[in-house]
């Protein structure tokens, strides 16, 4: 019995964890980060059709933009208190009560009813446009401790973007700077963002396994840039009613990219269609003249192999010298039909940079 216990304890001891050092093969690069860095400048703030400008109040210092914030400022009030202001555009908005209560919960404050929230809304103007100012913490003390931060939040819905302007910091500083904050908001003007030029687009990031350089293009304003795998160079999503959606993807392969037949049959597989022979595949190809070159368009209907829902695909093959570009619009049949003109207009806007001749 003693021997058994000793043996078991010894063996149990073998399982005790220890700090270890070992050699391991190099890690593959994290796929999402490489995809994010290869994303064209059409994503994030760069996709905004307009940018705000402002007059900086005295005592405010602008800091570099950080993450989702388009701009941030450090504020020093006359009595030495500190606060900060940030500007953040969002693709979606929350209702007034949700906006206020999320902020209040973060501060340890009780939630307010919709009526109570409505009483705290002050109509203001931002760049001459009507907006709402929420004084989140005016006159409050949190339940468990003295209020640690004051918060004022201005919200301006504008086209497809909701702009948030937030003043936050020491409660006394926030109170002292509220007037400057309102004047800052009134000074804001929105100006159109610089359009994409052929030069800018062709100097942009390379991506994909072929090392292709993205062309310049004009993206319809209602197309939303989306994350994508390393297999793609760009992806845009259009969402309609009842969750209908269609996606436009861009990819590039060296040489002929496998040829029209192989790609048509690959797409047919995505639509749940049987493969075809070369003769039938050629009949599916429609010539499409673009400023970027002579392309071929394929228009097919089927069932999305992933979602098992009806789907339509408009795929364009654009050979360009040593590589072949693929532009594919696929999704809900009605949405795809609706987006067809925008897709064709997008294709007409493609501008490739000419590669320098070897000297």
């Amino acid at each position: 019995m003693v021997l058994f216990c000793a043996a078991s304890l010894f063996l149990s001891g073998c399982k005790r964890e220890e700090i270890t050092v070992y050699r391991a093969p190099k890690e593959e690069p994290r796929r999402a980060s490489s995809a994010a860095s290869a994303a064209p400048p059409m994503s994030g703030h760069a996709a905004l059709p307009e940018r705000p400008t402002w007059k900086l109040p005295a005592g405010w210092t602008e800091h570099p933009a950080d993450g989702p914030s388009l701009a941030s400022f450090e504020v020093k009030s006359a009595d030495g208190g500190h606060a900060e202001v940030s500007i953040m555009p969002f693709g979606v908005s929350l209702d007034d009560a949700s906006l206020v209560n999320i902020s209040r919960e973060n501060l340890g404050l009780t939630r307010l009813s919709e009526e109570e929230v409505a009483k705290r809304i002050q109509p203001i103007t931002v760049g001459g446009l009507p907006a709402k100012l929420f004084d989140i913490t005016s006159g409050e003390t949190s339940e468990t401790q003295q209020l640690k931060a004051g918060v004022c939040l201005a919200v301006l819905p504008r086209d497809k973007t909701t702009w948030f302007f937030k003043l936050q910091g020491e409660p006394l500083a926030v109170n002292a700077e509220k007037g400057s904050f309102v004047k800052f908001l009134e000074s804001i003007e929105f100006q159109a963002a610089p359009p994409m030029s052929a030069g800018a687009g062709s100097m942009s990031l390379s991506g994909g396994s072929s090392g292709a350089v993205l062309p310049a293009w004009e993206i319809p304003s209602h197309w939303q840039a989306s994350s994508h795998s390393d297999m793609l160079l760009a992806k845009f999503v259009v969402t309609g009613q009842n969750s209908a959606r269609t996606e436009m993807t861009v990819s590039s392969l060296s040489g002929t990219g496998g040829g029209a037949l192989m790609n048509i049959n690959r797409w047919r597989g995505q639509l749940g269609l049987a493969p075809v022979e070369e003769g039938e595949a050629n009949q599916l190809l429609q010539p499409l003249d673009l400023p970027a070159g002579k392309a071929m368009l394929v228009d097919m209907n089927g069932t999305d192999a992933k979602t098992q829902k009806p789907a339509r695909m408009l795929a364009v093959i654009l050979p360009r010298g040593g590589e072949t570009w693929f532009y594919k619009l696929m999704g809900d049949p009605q949405m795809t039909e609706t987006e067809r003109p925008a897709f064709l207009k997008f294709l007409q806007s493609l501008r490739y940079a000419e590669k320098p001749a070897n000297g």
Partner: protein
């Protein structure tokens, strides 16, 4: 010759011990306790989860009970190791006391030895077996498998053609306090530890409290402590707040390390959840900090820090070439999960393709790869994925051998009796 009064008590005590461990009553008691243990351990899995219940009830000498909220605990029942151990000793002792090794008792010896082998085999399985998972997308190659029930805090530095990894087990962080080791270039001061957590984006318009740590992803993400889950199809993702103090140097400050960080599948999952509220594009931006590496420098050396599922590296690689997922016609019931993989082992110069599918695992280099799951790559749903359950069990043959011995022994004993009976009948 008169007996020495001093020698009398010892043999008597030994006799009593022998009598106890050879007693058939002890066998009945152990079997009864075993049945109770199985019953209570099975019920406990509902609340405690499979792995915790297994450890508490079956991989222990005693089962402890403590009142809710109390600091003390008392043993209330013997655990699996104690019952199994006593049963094993009882079996061996009783067998050697009652049976002599003769040809006539061969079958009984075989059967008893088979049961002994089963018990010992199970003990070694408990102590030495190890399970992990290998998740691959088509075309992906891996040299390791991961244990999602145990995390490790790693500091990875460049070592030329390879990386050098310092691995600190999760249990060290769970104990909090200071972690000091000659293998670490700094002291790790664990300020907080949460066995399960959930990331929360520090949206500028929602942000109010200061970040937990002054460096790394803590600037953009908070991690809230959540309840430990016991579901087998769910997992606990730990997070810790640590400070790194180089030996003889100034503090490198505080950092948040989390199991959510550094894994693309986890990032994509969070992006999917957040995307429902704020849209795909913004959710992608919000989740990006999860894959930004956290790098610290000590002694002129840069270390990439990560809190990840424990990895078991192999001297060979596995590449997923192709997957096949078939369901019964008209249903979603899986008919066949099949994966074709390539094994490349530079040490043995192997480079071959193997099929792994349901009921046909791959046994290679002491590991068994079972086809576990199939799905789609989180980042590119067009790419199929396959997950293998990787099991190391050095004593995997003992149940087969034990059952064979028991069955064979019973058969031998039966045939001996049968032939003996037939012989007597003929003689009569």
């Amino acid at each position: 010759m008169a007996e020495s009064p001093d020698s009398l008590p010892e043999p008597h005590m030994i006799d009593r011990i022998i009598k106890l461990f050879t007693s058939l009553k002890l066998t009945v008691v152990c079997l009864g306790l075993g049945a109770l243990l199985v019953f209570f351990g099975t019920i406990a899995q509902v609340k405690e989860g499979l792995y915790e219940a297994q450890t508490r009830y079956f991989k222990s000498f005693l089962i402890w009970w403590s009142p809710g909220g109390g600091d003390w605990s008392i043993p209330v029942m013997p655990g699996g190791y104690l019952i199994g151990g006593v049963l094993l000793i009882n079996l061996i002792a009783a067998h050697f006391q009652r049976f002599q090794f003769t040809k006539k008792k061969l079958g009984i010896w075989m059967a008893h030895f088979g049961i002994i082998l089963l018990l010992i085999g199970q003990l070694f399985t408990d102590l030495l077996a190890r399970e992990s998972q290998m998740r691959l997308a088509e075309g992906q190659t891996l040299h390791y498998s991961e244990d999602f029930t145990a995390f490790e805090l790693v500091f990875v530095k460049d070592a030329g053609a390879e990386d050098e990894v310092i691995s600190v087990p999760q249990s060290y962080l769970a104990n909090k306090g200071n972690i000091i080791s000659p293998q670490l270039p700094f002291t790790i001061h664990v300020k907080e530890y949460h066995p399960n957590s959930w990331p929360v984006f520090r949206a500028p318009q929602m942000k109010n409290a200061a970040p937990k740590a002054e460096h790394g992803m803590a600037q953009k993400l908070d991690f809230e402590a959540t309840e430990i889950t016991h579901k087998t199809d769910d997992k606990n993702v730990p997070t810790a707040l640590i400070e790194l103090i180089p030996n003889g140097g100034a503090s490198l400050g505080s950092w948040v390390v989390s199991g959510w960080e550094g894994d693309e599948n986890m990032r994509k999952y969070i992006e999917f959840i957040w995307g429902k509220k704020v849209g795909e594009q913004l959710a992608h931006q919000m989740a990006l900090p999860l894959i930004e590496p956290q790098i610290v420098e000590a002694g002129g050396v840069k270390y990439t820090m990560s809190f990840r599922p424990k990895r078991y590296y192999n001297p060979y690689s596995v590449t997923l070439l192709e997957t096949r997922h078939e369901v019964y016609l008209g249903t979603k019931i899986p008919k066949n999960y099949q994966s074709r993989v390539r094994i490349e082992n530079p040490q043995t110069r192997e480079n071959r393709e193997v099929d792994i599918y349901m009921n046909n695992p791959l046994r290679y280099e002491g590991l068994t790869y079972f086809q576990y799951q199939m799905g789609q790559d989180q980042i590119n749903p067009e790419i199929p994925t396959s997950a293998f359950q990787v099991v190391r069990n050095p004593s995997w043959l003992t149940p087969y051998a034990g059952c064979a011995l028991v069955g064979g022994g019973l058969l031998v004993q039966f045939l001996m009796h049968l032939f003996g009976f037939i012989k007597k009948r003929k003689a009569a």
